[in-house]
Symmetry: C2
Subunit: 218 residues, 2 copies
């Protein structure tokens, strides 16, 4: 059973010059439960190198946190990642499943109830619902869905549902209360002065709703 409750999505450009692997390591100390590496601009070789470093880090820690790769099914398969996250402009889930079989979790970005229902019908393992709120991280997103959008998607599918877009420690609890299984954050952790502390604060907010307190989900 995968714990999607605090899901970090990396972004090199928002990391204030710090190394992505260092940010991931700090965020793990802070209590993230899932990590997605997103590298839209570097070379494939750099992406693979970074994924292997995070894979090694998780293995060293005997961590069960799933490593999820954005967009690149080939990179996910080559690096022993646990999953791939696909946007609506990435590979179609059916193609990805044909290449990966059951060896990878497949997460799909959805922006509407219809997207979510289709993703479930096509065999997604979870959906990333975005944007919940307005976000500075991405400029090409649909209008914010708000908490009502989360509730509507929650009512329509039984898949694990991870919300993303403009989430921080002030609104994370409300999103879980609206029915999300987890919150995904980018800048709230990668741009924080102290990513470990930022993750810890988010985790506390989530745990205040889900239970388990600061020692994690139980």
């Amino acid at each position: 059973m995968i714990d999607y409750s605090l899901y970090l999505v990396t972004d090199r450009h928002l990391s204030l010059g710090r190394d992505t692997v260092d940010i991931v390591q700090a965020a793990i100390r802070g209590g993230i439960t899932c990590v997605q590496l997103r590298e839209k601009h570097g070379s494939t070789r750099q992406f693979i190198e970074e994924a292997r470093q995070v894979r090694n880090l998780l293995d060293c820690l005997a961590s069960t946190i799933p490593l999820i790769i954005n967009d690149r099914v080939d990179v996910a398969l080559a690096t022993g990642a646990d999953g791939v996250h696909l946007g609506q402009r990435d590979m179609d889930i059916r193609d990805a499943r044909r290449l990966a079989g059951s060896s990878l979790l497949i997460g799909i970005s959805v922006e509407s109830v219809d997207d979510a229902v289709r993703a479930e019908a096509e065999g997604a393992d979870y959906v990333g619902v975005s944007p919940v709120f307005a976000t500075p991280t991405k400029s090409d997103t649909a209008p914010p869905l708000g908490l009502a959008g989360i509730q509507a998607i929650r009512a329509a599918v039984s898949l694990p549902l991870v919300a993303i877009g403009g989430i921080n420690a002030d609104n994370a609890a409300a999103i879980i209360r609206a029915g999300a299984d987890g919150v995904a954050v980018v800048s709230a952790i990668v741009s924080a002065a102290c990513p470990a502390q930022a993750a810890r604060t988010l985790k506390e907010q989530i745990s205040s709703v889900k239970g388990g307190g600061r020692h994690g989900n139980q």
Copy 2:
């Protein structure tokens, strides 16, 4: 036996606003023997769509021209392409072979004798040698190898050798004489007023050295 003699590499940004699939179709009429789709900037879904269109085009024509995908092993596998072309900053050939087995030709970009020898040792199916001459197409390349560089790599490996970088109808024949099995071109075809005619002219130059005249290799 693959005919690498006239190898088109696509580039949407150099195509003067014309559709890549249309350019490929014209270039096929002009006599190209190989096509590599290179899409560094669009979405994965667009790349897959374009690859499928070219795959369908080649299948309709009952063409044996191999369809080669730049960088993306996953896109190559998903679209029934014949091969993948990997630069030195793309996936390592060993990883690519593990994912693709023998289902894909694997071409490797090399910039030196050492690169070429290593690519051969690692099981490449062909090498793309670049840049032969100075080229406006790419700005991040090593110093031009010249005809002497082609000769040196030819002497060092027995793999098929495709030269790329600054090649046009005026120098194509000299490159084949220097030992290349083929010439790869980008702007000489995709930026030409008439891509079919540009391919035909290049083909005549190559055939004047390799034999077979304007009716192609026999």
